[in-house]
Amino acid sequence: MKVQQLSILEIADKLTKNGLVIQVGVFSYSIQTKYSSIAESISILYADFEILNNEDAFIDFHVSIEPANIISKFIHRKAQFLSDGFPLFNPLPFQHAPAIIEWGMNWCVSSQINTHLIIHAAVIEKSGYAAILPAPPGSGKSTLTAALIQEGWRLLSDELTIIDVENGRVAPFPRPVSLKNQSIDIIKKRYPSVVFGPLSIDTTKGTVCHIKPPLFSVHQQLLGCPVGWVIFPKYKQGKNAEITEISKGQTLMDVADNSFNYSRLGSTGFDVLRKVIDGADCYQFHYSNLDDAIVIFETLEPPE
C-alpha cells in the first residue's frame, strides 16, 4: 500500500498509534507523532512511497517528534526530534515540525550507518551513471538538483550520497528535496507542476520548504548505479557557467572531507572511495544561471 492511498486522518492515526512505517531507498523508518502538520506533510511529500507493515517489517530507524516537555507543550510550544526514544537536538518551534522530521531523518543515516559510505552531497542519475554533487550549504546544490530532476535526471538523493562499500555503487535515497529562501520561488516559477510541502518560516536556515520527489525516482528507489561524475558546484552571481576538470587526488580528499563516516570506516572507506574516484570524471562547476547549468549537464559524457 502507498501513502497516497490513505487519507490525512488515516496517516495521522498511524502516526499517533504504532507508527507509520515507510521504505525510503534501502532504509525503513517508523515515524510517530501527534503533530497534524507532519501527517499533512507526509501525505504530500511521501505520497508515492510504500507503507510497510509494522508487524513484520525490519525497521532501521524509529523516529518521533514530540512536545519538548510539559511546559513547552502548553507555553513555549516547542517540538523535539527523538531517535529510538532519545531526544537529540534542542527543541524548536512546533511550527517547524515538518522540517524537523526531515532533518532528523537525515541525521539517522548520516550518524548511524556504517554499511555504506555517507557523503554530504546531492546525487542524480542519467544514462545509468550517477553524478555526485558535494558542496557546502549556500553553493546552490539543492536548487541545481531540484532543476535537474525536472530536466530528465533521476533523483537519487538531495542531501546524502549513500555508497555501498561492497560494490562502490550509489544506493538511492530519494527523499524530498529541501529548498531554502529565494530558491523556493525560483523553482516554483520555473516548474509550476512541482509539488511543494508545507513552508517552515523563520527556521535557523531561514524559510524552508521540501518538494515531492518525482514518481520515477521513487519507483526506482532500489535501483543503484555506478558513479560517473563527481562535480563540485558553486553558484556565483554573474559568473558564466564553466566546468573545469580537477585532479582525482584532490577530489578524493575533498569528498572524504564531505563524508560523515569516512574516518569511521577506516581502510574500507578509502578502498571504496578510491574505486569511486577511479571510475569517475571529476569537475569543478561554477554557474549563475540554471539554463546554462542544465545545458552543461546535458553535455556530460559517461566516463570511458
Binding site: G249, L252, M253, A256, G266, S267, F270, D278
Partner: protein, 91 residues
C-alpha cells in the same frame, strides 16, 4: 654509514597522473601527494630498507634534476614523509 629508511606500518595508495593519495592504516590518515614521481614514491614506501643513494638512482631514471636540486628534493621528500609518519628512520 648512510641512514636507512623504510615504510612505517601498512599503507594503501592510489596513483592518478601526477597525484597520489596514501591511506595510512595505523593512523587512519589520508595524505595527498602532488607531483612526486610514482616510481620514487613507491620506493619510499618500500618495506625493504633504503637510503638516499637508492632514491637517487630511482629519481634519475624518472626526472631531470641538477645534482644539488636532486639532493635537496630527496631531503625534503624524506622529511615530509617522516612528518606524516609514513616512513621511519632505521638507524
Amino acid at each position: 654509514m648512510d641512514v636507512k629508511y623504510c615504510i612505517s606500518g601498512k599503507v594503501t595508495s592510489a596513483f592518478w597522473d601526477k597525484d597520489c593519495v596514501i591511506y595510512h592504516h595505523e593512523s587512519g590518515n589520508t595524505h595527498l601527494m602532488n607531483d612526486v614521481p610514482e616510481a620514487l614514491l613507491k620506493s619510499c614506501l618500500s618495506h625493504i630498507p633504503y637510503d638516499r643513494n637508492d632514491l637517487h638512482e630511482v629519481i634519475q631514471q624518472c626526472s631531470e634534476f641538477s645534482e644539488q636540486d636532486l639532493s635537496e628534493y630527496i631531503n625534503e621528500l624524506l622529511a615530509m614523509l617522516i612528518k606524516k609518519n609514513l616512513i621511519e628512520q632505521l638507524n
